[in-house]
């Protein structure tokens, strides 16, 4: 109940902001922050609960974005349909990737996911209809009724998607699926021996995680009115999706949310005030510091702090 109330309040704040604030920049930046909430939450389902490091975020994100763009080019489908199609395609890719890499663990799985990014990027680089390496210009339709600008509409939409993604992650975390995934993370052999259907759970986690990443990318072509492979399949999405849960804490659904909001806000500020190179540097340094000094992330630090102060 508490979760739904706070999620409702967060979403209401996004709507109120869209209704009152005039400066479009806030929505441009806010969209990115919320997008990283979706990506980090999606990453954490496989990476945090099951302990499988996925560098393939750009593959799922990019496939989602390209699915939406191609669908829009071919049929001028509405946004909802684009998002649905993106989720389906990226979910299928996640399922396929899960089935292909079932035998791989640890670093081997991680490298296989990097391979996935490059291969899919190469495919889109060579697909003429989707614009090839030069990209595809898309003409945005006018925004739907209550919204006066398209960016505000996408911002509110992304807020709804973020709430949905976190709710899904929370549901998985609390159900038997989450317990099974945690068992896989601690010891895959022990989990298998205790009757946890490890293979099915891994493929399920890959599919859900992939589909949510696709959702995170689905509105990107409309947001930019443009799509091209090099920036769509950029490893920086993998960095953000991986670093946010690591910094926030991978154990629960709140960790990636806190991490993503903190990290992408810092990134936005650093990009504007210093430089875009410096923003990647900040992520790298924070990632290393947290991984070494605070393995349980910010949530772990808070827990430790409240425990020691109550004693």
């Amino acid at each position: 109940m508490k979760f739904w109330v706070s999620a409702g309040i967060a979403f209401a704040l996004a709507v109120i902001a869209a209704a009152t604030l005039k400066n479009e920049y806030y929505f441009f930046a806010g969209y990115t922050v919320l997008m990283f909430v979706v990506l980090a939450t999606a990453w954490n389902i496989l990476g945090g609960y099951a302990g499988y490091v996925n560098f393939g975020t750009p593959a799922f994100f990019g496939l989602g974005a390209y699915t939406a763009a191609v669908l829009f080019k071919a049929t001028a489908a509405p946004l909802a349909l684009q998002i649905l199609a993106a989720a389906t395609m990226s979910g299928l890719l996640g399922c396929a990737a899960g089935l292909l890499t079932l035998r791989l663990r640890g670093i081997f799985f991680a490298i296989a996911t990097i391979a996935l990014v490059v291969i899919i990027e190469t495919l889109f680089n060579n697909w003429r209809y989707a614009g090839g390496a030069t990209g595809l210009q898309l003409l945005r339709p006018p925004p739907t009724a209550p919204f006066e600008s398209y960016v505000k509409m996408l911002f509110v939409l992304m807020a709804a998607l973020a709430v949905a993604a976190v709710a899904i992650a929370r549901y998985i975390e609390r159900s038997w699926i989450g317990r099974g995934l945690r068992a896989i993370r601690d010891s895959e052999e022990a989990a298998e021996c205790s009757g946890v259907p490890t293979l099915r759970l891994k493929v399920f986690a890959c599919t859900v995680s992939g589909a949510l990443m696709g959702v995170g990318g689905a509105t990107m072509p409309m947001y930019l009115s443009f799509i091209e492979p090099a920036s769509t399949f950029n490893l920086n999405y993998a960095i953000g999706a991986l670093a946010s849960p690591m910094i926030g804490g991978t154990a629960g659904y709140l960790g990636p949310v806190i991490g993503a909001i903190l990290l992408s806000t810092i990134q936005q500020v650093v990009t504007v005030t210093i430089s875009s190179e410096m923003n990647v540097m900040v992520v790298g340094v924070l990632l290393v510091v947290f991984v070494v000094a605070a393995p349980e992330g910010i949530l772990g630090l808070i827990k430790k702090w409240t425990r020691s102060s109550s004693r």
Partner: protein, 291 residues
Amino acid sequence: MVFSFDLLLEAVVFGILLGCFYAAVSIGLSVSFGLLDVPHIAHPAIMVLGSYGTFVICRYGFDPIVAGVVLMPVFFVLGMGVYRFYYEAFERRGSEAGVRGIAFFFGLALIIEVGLILAFGVDQRSVEAVYIGKSLSIGEMRVPLRFLVAFGVAIVLMTALTLYLSKTFTGRAIKAVAQDEAALRLMGANPVRIKQWAFGIATAVAALAGALLIVIGPVEPGLDRVYIGRTFSVVVLAGLGSMTGTLAAGLILGISESIVLMHFGASWAPAVSFGLLLIVLGIRPQGLFGR
């Protein structure tokens, strides 16, 4: 597409030169990841760091290969430091080191990459030497001299490392630590110190590989991302830690990349190494010469 035997022959010759180079840039990873099981995703980034080190030294009029050799002791110490840190922060703590260890090296690679961008900018950098820009004509074929130089150095580097690992006492100790760490401890040796030494050597080799990288062509800070695929596919295809396997795998990658490059064009080439990697991981994860 017209099939031409001459073109294929040229692709194969070029692929062999390229393949030896790929083997040389992967052999350090073959030690650090293959033998020591360290998830060293930052290996290509350290190599690119070596390229930039070479670039800086070459400004004072030195030969790039000499510069690479000069960098080796510095990188040796750097590598020992990196391993020590990794050991203290992750390996010693044991559980859950997997995810965090990978994330650590990923972060390290990022820091190196962005550090290079801040110091040198995103532009491509290259070095000058007598053999860069000239080429050797064999019949109809024109082979750039810089590839031959890189080929020669790669062969020397790989022979030296293979001999070191199989003939010297420390080299054999490194192989032993890869096989059975507990047994080594029972023999009264300290596996951590041997691993630290081995990681230092792997990093020193990466410095020379970086020099070769800038001899072969201009470098940019983001180049390490492409080489993650190439180096890991060579090491995995070789079978972890196999030195002869590394050469064979490098040649397979080099030849297939150069054939794809000549017959399908440059836009397909990046997928070759990663495609090969996925196929190997899916069909035969222990590689060609797996232990």
